[in-house]
């Protein structure tokens, strides 16, 4: 910029006095002839603008007269085209075959698949910590170290918008799983449950409908957090099953969460269980035993 100014002043000086030095931009060796930039010198680089092909402008252009349309016919006319799928009057391909059935896709609940390997990677990177917020039971922060879908989103494994109806836990990369976590997901595969429990973690499957997901992932949108709905009848067998699914409504899952909240009850339960077993052993009838 400075050199340009000097050039300009030097050209002015040349007009006034013939003894004007030709300045060079670089110091010692090479002498470059540099021209002053004028407004009538502004132009695009060669090749920047390519001229459009103009149809129907004479013999020499090779696209004159019929302009690439051939001779006569519907396609040679202005606005002359046929619609897609038209077969000259013959029954169209997509009309030949009969309609069939219906789709119930509107009720499909697609789960987002998250693998154990990914979760372990995020723990290794430091983005996901085993201490989570409260679970379905709404426990306290300290005791409950449950990793919910919101924690997975906050860690960056998925986004709020990618979870349409829930998350399914899958077992890809289970070999590198080494951090025991207490996960609460919508569904889980058998191998994922096995792998997590083998290292001392816990998996619980919980039903979230759209409202529940919204309350879980974006609690700031609510003045009062709603109660989460029970699963519909179709899914009740799923969430009451402990063996295959670790459903949250199963007896074992409810016991587990109860004992976590109130560990003092464990003794009482164990005692009651012993009593019941002994009662069953002695007499064939079941006797009711209640705990406090």
């Amino acid at each position: 910029m400075l050199s340009l100014c000097r050039q300009f002043s030097s050209s002015l000086a040349f007009r006034q006095t013939p003894a004007a030095a030709c300045l060079s931009t670089s110091a010692a060796q090479s002498q470059e002839v540099v021209e002053v930039l004028k407004l009538n010198m502004l132009k695009d680089n060669p090749g920047a603008v390519k001229k459009k092909r103009r149809i129907g402008r004479g013999i020499g252009s090779s696209k004159g007269k019929t302009a690439g349309r051939g001779h006569k016919g519907q396609k040679a006319r202005a606005g002359g085209s046929i619609s897609i799928g038209f077969e000259g009057g013959q029954t169209k391909f997509y009309k030949l075959l009969p309609k069939r059935g219906f789709t119930n896709k509107r009720h499909k609940t697609d789960m987002l698949a998250i693998n154990l390997g990914t979760i372990q990677d995020y723990v290794d990177m430091g983005r996901l910590t085993p201490t989570g917020g409260g679970g379905v039971d709404g426990g306290d922060g300290d005791n409950n170290k449950i990793v919910t879908l919101k924690d997975l989103c906050d860690a960056g494994i998925c986004t709020h918008s990618s979870i349409k109806h829930g998350v399914k836990l899958l077992a890809k990369g289970k070999e590198r799983l080494k951090t025991p976590l207490q996960l609460e997901v919508s569904r889980a595969s058998t191998h994922a449950i096995e792998a997590m429990e083998a290292i001392g973690g816990e998996v619980t499957t919980v039903h979230y409908n759209r409202l529940a997901l919204r309350a879980l992932l974006k609690p700031n949108k609510f003045i009062i957090l709603p109660k989460f709905a029970r699963p519909p009848p179709k899914w009740q067998p799923y969430y009451t099953n402990w063996d295959a699914n670790r459903g949250y409504l199963s007896v074992q899952a409810q016991m587990r969460s109860l004992l976590k909240e109130r560990p003092e009850l464990e003794e009482a339960f164990a005692k009651a269980l012993e009593e019941r077993r002994s009662n069953l052993a002695t007499s064939g009838t079941a006797s009711s035993s209640k705990d406090d």
Binding site: P46, G117, D121, M125, G126, L128, G156, G173
Partner: protein, 183 residues
């Protein structure tokens, strides 16, 4: 090296008309990029090269910066930062990791692969390089064993914005080298 380019410059001035690059106000037929491309395969340029003694291939520079730790890479390309105890030597350059990760976690090394759809161009890009860039380039050449041909190195290219582009998909190599240095 200098004589070679100046001879080429003289050579270009000898060609009259469209290939001359004098700024006297008339429009050049070819842009400077087009001229460069034409000159790459020009037989006359090759004749001059042979006169100068053919292609001069220098061996890659010596490795000056040794790895200070064994990098452990996760399958997603992340590697942990150097642990607290290790002493990291002073390098003239610095490669900053990516930032703004959840839970204040450490980010990734800024080494990326770039592909053209048809596979015509496959490169590695290194971003966020600060400090002495020439020193970094020498160290990179040494680490990746890139020789210089005719005094120029066509494998490494500097892009605007400071990104360094290396031919080929060498993301893993570069990442492991940088992680080994302690970045």
């Amino acid at each position: 090296m200098l004589s070679n380019t100046s001879s080429l410059r003289v050579f270009s001035r000898q060609i009259a008309g469209p290939l001359s690059r004098q700024s006297t106000g008339f429009r050049d037929k070819h842009s400077s990029r087009q001229v460069k491309r034409l000159f790459k395969k020009n037989p006359a340029a090759r004749r001059i090269e042979n006169k100068m003694g053919g292609k001069v291939i220098e061996s890659p520079p010596e490795v000056t910066y040794q790895a200070i730790l064994e990098p452990k890479m996760l399958p997603n390309g992340w590697n942990p930062p150097p642990p607290e105890g290790i002493e990291i030597p002073e390098y003239p350059f610095k490669i900053s990791r990516t930032k703004n990760k959840p839970n204040d976690a450490v980010g990734f090394l800024p080494v990326y692969s770039e592909f053209r759809r048809d596979g015509a161009r496959v490169t590695t890009r290194i971003k966020k390089v600060s400090g002495d860039r020439d020193a970094f380039l020498t160290a990179l050449r040494a680490a990746l064993q890139i020789p210089t041909v005719n005094g120029k190195d066509e494998t490494i290219r500097l892009r605007t914005g400071g990104t360094i582009e290396v031919k080929g998909n060498r993301v893993m190599e570069v990442k492991q080298w940088l992680a080994g240095l302690g970045f």
